[in-house]
Symmetry: C3
Subunit: 403 residues, 3 copies
């Protein structure tokens, strides 16, 4: 809200022609894999409810510990099945209210506890979602039930960094012998604002006075200014991930590292030169190579919840080939990466995204924003997402009748 | 909110033909008696404000302690008169803001404290409502001011159980020599979801693991399945109450008591057989005979407040013919009926109603629900309410401009 | 909300013809001076954000301590610049997110920290607002940027009381040798309801039992009833303030002081006769002469924030010609005027305004209210504001898409 000085001039030609579908993706991109929960958040005998891109989903383990995902509304009278866990067998999901009992595999109504001869049995069903669990994380494929074939999870993750891109590549989140740990929390902004903040080469200013940066004496620029279109590389792997990368690689020399500003006298204080590289992947996954320290990587997922909230996932990934490695990784994760990196440092990013929300939600921000030179990669991302998404998620029933 | 798997198929013939008006009764049924407050909640010199079916009502005692009910908005500048009690005489209701003073009997403006010769005096008025007080409860007749004649309160209560229905009938809430005690609290759901939960023979599953049930070793079924249409009896007393009764009477044998389920292996643990009977009465009053223990009764009122809230009244009623009886009743009420029954046990019902609210409010639940065999009595209630109500309450002014 | 007994009769002739524009001024009157902050609330190196009549404004001190006011949305991606203070020089306002840096004087983009050669520099700008600071208060002229010439602040304050009006005039808020102290807080009502409560001669009833009144044994009437149209004087100074005054002056004898009411037996208890005079000035400034005690004055400002909130300013003003005077004033302010006057006494006014909000916001109060004899001055104010405002503030962008 608020009267500013912003001109609301009619524009003859929309500047958005090149990424129009992206502007409609308020509720997210559909038919993609999204992280839904950590393994430890879905213990046996618990029905865990989540919302992804407006889809209400119940997660439960069945036979052999396999995770299943089903629609989280009972067909009978519409309560969320996850509101109270009722786990009677390892093949069924039972609603706590009237005992409607669905098969975990197919979602078909198998019995009603107190009406075992009911005509609905075998006919009514709730939908199911594909799942994948690895290295402590559970992913769900969210979108149209009839979308076939379901693409591999790897197509919705950052590429495994090849030797051509880095002689010393960081670990890949799905690999064995990998340390994977992190946190997730809800951000009060649309998922797109989260993505755009995540790897925008101008946003580092918000970190210039961070404890992390000061304590490690890192030389973090006021911003990175692309010198030419090559600074931003689009990566389109056949059948594989689609991403956009800031080629910060020093030997390429594609960015100006701005460390001071003449007009204001502003300059950075850190002395330790430091190399990091960022890339963003459809449907909204950030890879920061060599962060928080060299040889490690930080993955971030900005998972749409509804039109004004996203689930913010921050995952630290590292090579881990021995028990010795694991112990050291846990020490570093617990005492450095999580408190100073995922929390202290990235809290600033959460703050910045949420600060944009009002403007984009209520003040026609998508048309009123005035992008600058630093935003080349943001525009690049928008085009990428507009081109490679597998569909735009429509609002769920009742979305216009919010609490 | 949420994308489920629910089919939103167009239906050639509406399944609701038989209870259409009920679906419009979001704000309640009008021209009925509703409980408004306990006697002890309206002491002398207090103006008590309540909302029933969108009607803002001020309660106050006048001459001889009689309770009056008037519209709770001052005609002058629209403040709620009950916001601050100003009780100057026992014939008037004075607004605390500018001293507009109305007659308790007729609602006519009798004076303005600082403008005693004002032209409005004797002309302006606020409306009044009929009241009735008995056994510690205050009822108000809510609806059109010109609805005449006002029917007796007994027509909006459960029938007094006759000997033909029970050789050992429970006490009637309005009788002398009756113990009447209870509580009320606000539920975050529409009043109809509260009613429908209240006596639905499938909802008992939510109570199967309740402390009350486990502690008393009650054999409470997973659900009661009606065997034939006779299981549900419609009671239409001329000039009297209209209700629908689950004929759980054991000698009639009209219900299957489902105590286990083959598919899931689920079964109940209690050993003590127990007889209870439930009936629901227009405009939404539950009678549970022989509950929480034999010879006692529990009345429940689901009073519409607005379209998304109801006031949930739970009243324990018992025969009480001596001071000895009264003392024992108080002991049982205080140490058993209220903590373990009205709270511990019925909290589950409140939970279940509120769990349905989103679906019915935002996801077209009335058309999307998939009722089963257990719901015969729910449908029976809907038809009854559609047929015997004295009018559907329209939304109040400003209802569409909610906070 | 609520069904009352209010007739919603169509009215052949609108009673509002004489003050129609006032009814549209939900967001305030524009092109007027409003208090924005106390001097002590804008220390060096702080960017202070306020909202006035829907305008989001950032306040900051520049060279020589001068206060500047600029639009509080960065042109780049729309964050509020005041969300985090970044003060690099005394000529610039820098946005904390991407370092967009605007000139304090003209609002023009002077540099972007990490994009110093950006094409937007020198072209993009945010708007500025005129400011004035005196006696510990900061005023901002809020409205159209092209409104010229900006009228003097004195035209939007109460007149300096001339000797003809009072042989012993109270101090003027902008004068030197004046003690000026007070508080401000947010009220949950539209600004117009705040104004109308402030000097309505019938509203004193809400104060009849106040600690302030009882402790000082003041004879405060139940209400003041105007005897003739002369009781209410419109003051229209050429190029100067426009106000409406309750001529309570005892020698004029234009009001009936109503100290008891025959119908209800209500009467006031205080014995100390006391003279006070109230006047209201466009755009909504109250002057109470000889309050809280003789020779002192209380100014009140009801500053529109948005359509349902106002900032309530209460300022005590007194003559102060020596250090001795100042010490005594501080003693009285701290131990009497603020706790017993601005808080204890005026809390009642805040309560009353907020009690009107629902009715005017949701129940068509402007058409449903039934004004009485006491309201002559309220109607007088409405006409004055309708006639002398410099424009009606339109809702800001996004105002209809509230949280």
């Amino acid at each position: 809200m608020g009267v500013g000085a912003r001109k609301v001039a009619a524009k003859a030609v929309s500047p958005h022609r090149e990424y129009e579908p992206y502007l409609e993706a308020k509720w997210g991109l559909k038919n993609h894999w999204y992280p839904a929960a950590f393994t430890h958040e879905v213990p046996d005998k618990l029905v865990k409810g989540v919302m992804i891109a407006g889809h209400e989903i119940a997660l439960r383990r069945g036979k052999g510990g396999k995770v299943y995902a089903l629609a989280d509304r009972c067909a009978h009278r519409g309560v969320r099945i996850s509101k109270k866990s009722m786990c009677l067998t390892d093949e069924h999901l039972t609603c706590w209210y009237h005992g409607f009992t669905y098969g975990l595999e197919d979602g078909v109504l198998k019995t009603i506890l107190a009406s075992p001869d009911d005509a609905q049995i075998g006919k009514t069903r709730i939908r199911t979602y594909p799942t994948h669990e690895k290295n402590g994380m559970i992913w769900v494929f969210v979108g149209d039930e009839d979308f076939k074939p379901v693409p591999p999870l790897t197509s919705d993750l950052p590429m495994r960094v090849p030797k051509e891109y880095d002689p010393n590549p960081v670990a890949f989140i799905l690999d064995d012998n990998t340390f994977v740990r992190g946190i997730h929390r809800t951000g009060d902004s649309n998922w797109r604002l989260a993505v755009e903040n995540g790897f925008d080469p101008g946003h580092v200013l918000i970190h210039y006075d961070n404890v992390f940066i000061a304590a490690t004496d890192r030389k973090l620029a006021l911003g990175w200014q692309p010198k030419s279109p090559e600074a931003v590389e689009v990566i389109d792997l056949p059948e594989g991930p689609k991403g956009i990368m800031n080629r910060y690689d020093p030997h390429l020399n594609l960015y100006n590292y701005i460390n001071e500003n003449a007009v204001t006298g502003m300059k950075v204080y850190g002395k330790q030169e430091y190399y990091v590289r960022t890339s963003m992947w459809v449907p909204g996954v950030l890879l920061v190579e060599h962060w928080p320290v060299t040889n490690w990587a930080q993955y971030e997922f900005y998972v749409p919840i509804d039109d004004t909230h996203h689930e913010y996932w921050e995952i630290i990934v590292g090579h881990c080939n021995s028990e010795e490695d694991r112990k050291e990784a846990e020490f570093k994760y617990t005492n450095f990466f999580e408190p100073l990196g995922l929390l202290e440092f990235n809290n600033r990013d959460l703050f910045a995204r949420e600060a944009m929300q009002d403007f984009y939600e209520k003040m026609d921000g998508w048309n009123q924003e005035q992008l600058c030179k630093l935003d080349a990669v943001v525009v690049g991302w928008r085009k990428l997402a507009a081109r490679f998404n597998r569909g735009i998620q429509a609002p769920p029933p009742g979305a216009d009748r919010k609490d």
